[in-house]
């Protein structure tokens, strides 16, 4: 296997570098100045609502589509011009896997692996394929047209993981998998990551991203809106705190430092506070002798919903405007 050092990549050097990336389809701008930086050895989560441009970005990174403006490099090379050369080092799982109708799953896996040149070590490849078909519980003898969505995805995943790569580009790879197979998928990501590979994982399963990724980028309407480590992301959202309202008056509650959006409903007080400010709140809560305290850690979900909600509201707003104009 080609290791990180062998290819002259130091950890932290950027494997993917996109600046102001744009992609026009006619008048529509699918990407509109997207920035993305993925460093060597990291598992990078790529988040965004449907239609935000995730798949288009991945297709540009693979050289299947050409950027209309902006710059993009993969391993320092132009993915459009040097596509075939770059593809020796990467593995790809499309979001919507379609297989050849008259090839069996096993044949499709072999074909893709051979194209990638990863089958020189025959015994090693056979072992890897066998191990993956068993752990992903795939029947490799069925024809491509008879597989369900989840099974087609498994075929593409096995083909991606059966031979080593320096970069894995995965487009919502676990969207058709059951929870058990999601766990198997997670283990494979951890395995290739431990071996030094870089992973770009587009997803909207936030728990998966929180579990697997070290850094994330969130895009919306073809632009990057947030990027950073998970810890930095968590800073962007507030911690939710709630407790029983029994015996506490408004005056006491107003003394809690740094409380935002404080409400009293259904006999419980709830508010949010900056994640840095949790420690400052706790002594006051202790002094008030609050009962039934819950502290909800910040989640990507809230951040995601904030950006997503923005877009959805925008859409609703436009629709309403159109409706009233009629």
């Amino acid at each position: 296997m080609r290791g990180i050092n062998e290819i002259g990549m130091t950890p932290g050097a950027s494997v993917i570098e996109a600046r102001g990336l744009g992609k026009r389809f006619g008048r529509v701008r699918a990407l509109d100045g997207l920035d993305l930086r993925v460093s060597a050895g990291e598992v990078h989560g790529f988040l965004g609502p449907n239609g935000s441009g995730k798949s288009t970005t991945l297709r540009v990174l693979l050289g299947l589509a050409r950027a209309s403006f902006g710059t993009v490099t993969v391993f320092g090379q132009d993915p459009w011009k040097d596509a075939a050369q770059l593809h020796r080092r990467l593995a790809y799982v499309p979001g919507d896997v379609s297989l050849w109708p008259n090839l069996s799953g096993g044949e499709a896996i072999d074909l893709i692996s051979r194209l990638r040149g990863g089958t020189a070590d025959r015994a090693g490849y056979a072992r890897a394929k066998d191990r993956l078909t068993r752990t992903f519980a795939l029947d490799p003898g069925k024809k491509g047209r008879t597989y369900s969505k989840g099974n087609r995805q498994k075929v593409a995943l096995i083909a991606a993981f059966a031979t080593p790569a320096d970069l894995y580009i995965l487009d919502e790879p676990s969207s058709g998998l059951d929870p058990l197979m999601e766990a198997v998928f997670g283990q494979e990501i951890e395995r290739v990551s431990a071996a030094g590979a870089t992973v770009l994982l587009s997803s909207h399963i936030l728990s998966e991203v929180e579990h697997l990724c070290s850094r994330v980028s969130i895009i919306s309407a073809g632009k990057t809106v947030e990027t950073g480590t998970l810890a930095q992301m968590r800073h962007l959202t507030r911690t939710g705190i709630s407790f029983a309202a029994q015996g506490l008056d408004q005056d006491q509650l107003s003394r809690i430092p740094g409380a935002h959006e404080l409400t009293v409903t259904g006999g419980r007080v709830s508010f949010t506070t900056d994640t840095d400010g949790v420690n400052a709140v706790l002594p006051m809560l202790a002094a008030l002798k609050v009962q039934g305290l819950t502290v909800k850690p910040p989640s990507l979900e809230e951040l995601f919903l904030r950006h997503y909600g923005h877009e959805a509201q925008g859409t609703r707003g436009r629709r309403a405007a159109q409706a009233s104009a009629r």
Binding site: A84, W100, N102, R145
Partner: protein
């Protein structure tokens, strides 16, 4: 609105342009042939001499049917009915599979079956839709012949014969959809049945017995095994006998009983013949885009090669017979000369006529390769390949190589079988060389299809499939039948097949040269443009 009317409306709407082109095209063929016969074979004596020759020539009987006298109307019926019936058959089988098995395979049928439409209503809607299409086709054919100044009653008998053949094959298509797991399999099976029906009728007609005056013929029993044969036995314009058409309706009813019986018992998406399991590991040759293309296209290339070999067999065995007939009467040689450009001896012209059929098969095989490439791009297969270290140009170039191989294989199978069969019936050994020369002459036209459609794929991928089929259909019509039905020369010149040379001493090869230049230029431009082209799934 009931579920049935919703589904029927959806089918009519989805097929509207397709049916307009099938029905309109078939109607135009009828109109052209009526007009052309009146113009070319206007006098009774001429028609009688042609028919006498046709009866002596099993190849023409096989292609056309059995003649029923020298009347103008009956002559038109003899000349064109089997083609009209063939078109009706293909229209119906493709329609049936499109709305049944293809829907089940894609999973769309499940969405529909989960509504109150349930399992049977979609099939009923497809049946009504297909019957409407066949009836409409019959009416259009009848009107076309009436417009061509043929007898009105006989024209409606012809229309009814076309429609009943269409209905029979509609039921065959629906039945094939019950048996086969995939739409490809169902289309292949149903279209084969249509082809077999045509060949059975051809055999029966060729083996038939001629009447006393030498312008009439009754077919042998194999013709009575074929819905196309039944339509033909209506003997429109002469006997005007509707009874044989009832056989088509009976066949349709029997097939439909089986269709509804099976439909009521089987699971949605399941088929009577199960799909076969595949290999767990790929053969070692399956390691690149060219090998994958072979794997995907092999069944259809084999099919086109069988077609080429069969036509080669006809060319080899019949050449002696036709040569004798042709030297006896100049009218036969005129018919044959109308189908190809240029002169040459009777033998060379006949060989060229048969090999232009093989050339059409070769061009169609090349066209299908380009269509497959587009389907791979639209379907997502190309994305998996191009995400590996395979460049766009290599992937594209491999499909061109595949198309070239398909063309060469089809032409070779025709040439080899033609040469050998000519030897087997005691022909001159020089016939082997002639066969290969005739096959080589077809190469430029097929290459034009490959090159120009490849360029079209690069520039306008979205319309490639539609334009590919249209260009083949138009090329065959103008190039091969154009001379027979009296299309003006400038229109015939549109077709690459028109420019195919007839190899003989003093033949004109300039058309072939130009076609090679066009094909090479198109491929060169396409290869350069492909470097700059994105993958365009939509």
């Amino acid at each position: 609105m009931s579920a049935l009317s919703v589904l029927l409306g959806q089918r009519l709407r989805r097929d509207r342009w397709q049916l307009v082109s099938w029905i309109g095209g078939t109607g135009l063929l009828a109109l052209f042939s009526a007009a052309a016969v009146a113009q070319t074979y206007g006098d009774y004596a001429g028609r009688v001499s042609i028919l006498r020759l046709a009866i002596a020539n099993p190849a023409i009987l096989m292609l056309r049917g059995t003649p029923r006298g020298g009347g103008l109307d009956a002559f038109v019926f003899f000349e064109i009915f089997t083609f009209l019936a063939l078109l009706a058959g293909f229209m119906s089988t493709f329609l049936a599979v499109r709305h049944s098995r293809a829907e089940e395979e894609s999973g769309r049928a499940e969405i529909v079956s989960a509504t109150p439409a349930a399992r049977m209503t979609p099939t009923v809607a497809t049946l009504i839709h297909g019957v409407l299409a066949s009836v409409l086709l019959g009416i259009v054919v009848a009107l076309a012949f009436i417009a061509g100044n043929l007898d009105a009653y006989g024209s409606f008998v012809t229309g009814a014969a076309v429609a009943s053949t269409g209905v029979a094959f509609l039921a065959v298509g629906l039945l094939a959809a019950q048996f086969m797991r995939t739409s490809r399999g169902a289309n292949g099976t149903a279209a084969s049945v249509v082809g077999i029906a045509y060949v059975l009728r051809g055999l029966g007609d060729a083996l038939g017995t001629s009447g006393t005056d030498g312008t009439q013929m009754s077919p042998a029993w194999p013709s009575w095994l074929s819905p196309i044969g039944w339509g033909q036995q209506s003997a429109a314009y002469t006997a005007n006998n509707a009874a044989p058409m009832l056989l088509s309706i009976v066949l349709a009813a029997v097939c439909l009983l089986a269709v509804f019986g099976l439909q009521a018992r089987r699971d949605s998406g399941a088929s009577l013949l199960a799909g076969r399991a595949g290999r767990i590991t790929a053969r070692s040759v399956l390691s690149g885009p060219l090998a994958l293309g072979w794997r995907l296209q092999l069944p259809s290339i084999i099919g086109w090669c069988l077609g080429g070999a069969f036509t080669g067999l006809l060319a080899g065995t019949l050449s002696k017979l036709v040569e004798q007939a042709g030297s006896a009467d100049p009218t036969v040689s005129k018919v044959l000369h109308d189908m190809v450009q240029g002169g040459g001896s009777m033998h060379h012209v006949l060989l060229s006529v048969m090999f232009s059929l093989i050339g059409i098969l070769a061009a169609t095989a090349a066209t299908q390769t380009i269509i497959r490439m587009r389907q791979e791009e639209a379907g997502g297969g190309a994305e998996l390949i191009l995400a590996s270290p395979v460049s766009r140009t290599r992937w594209f170039r491999d499909y061109l190589l595949l198309g070239l191989s398909a063309i060469v294989l089809v032409l070779l199978s025709g040439a080899v079988v033609s040469g050998l069969s000519a030897l087997a019936v005691g022909g001159d050994p020089a016939r082997i060389g002639d066969s290969f020369a005739a096959a080589a002459a077809q190469l430029p036209a097929a290459l034009v299809y490959l090159g120009v459609l490849a360029l079209l794929f690069v520039v306008l991928p979205g319309v490639t499939i539609t334009l590919a089929w249209i260009s083949i259909g138009a090329g065959v019509f103008f190039g091969f039948f154009g001379g027979l039905v009296g299309v003006p020369q400038w229109a015939r010149n549109i077709s690459p097949f028109t420019h195919t040379p007839v190899p003989s001493s003093g033949a004109d090869f300039s058309g072939a040269l130009w076609m090679l230049v066009i094909a090479a230029a198109a491929v060169a431009v396409a290869l350069v443009a492909m470097r700059r082209r994105e993958l365009r799934p939509n």
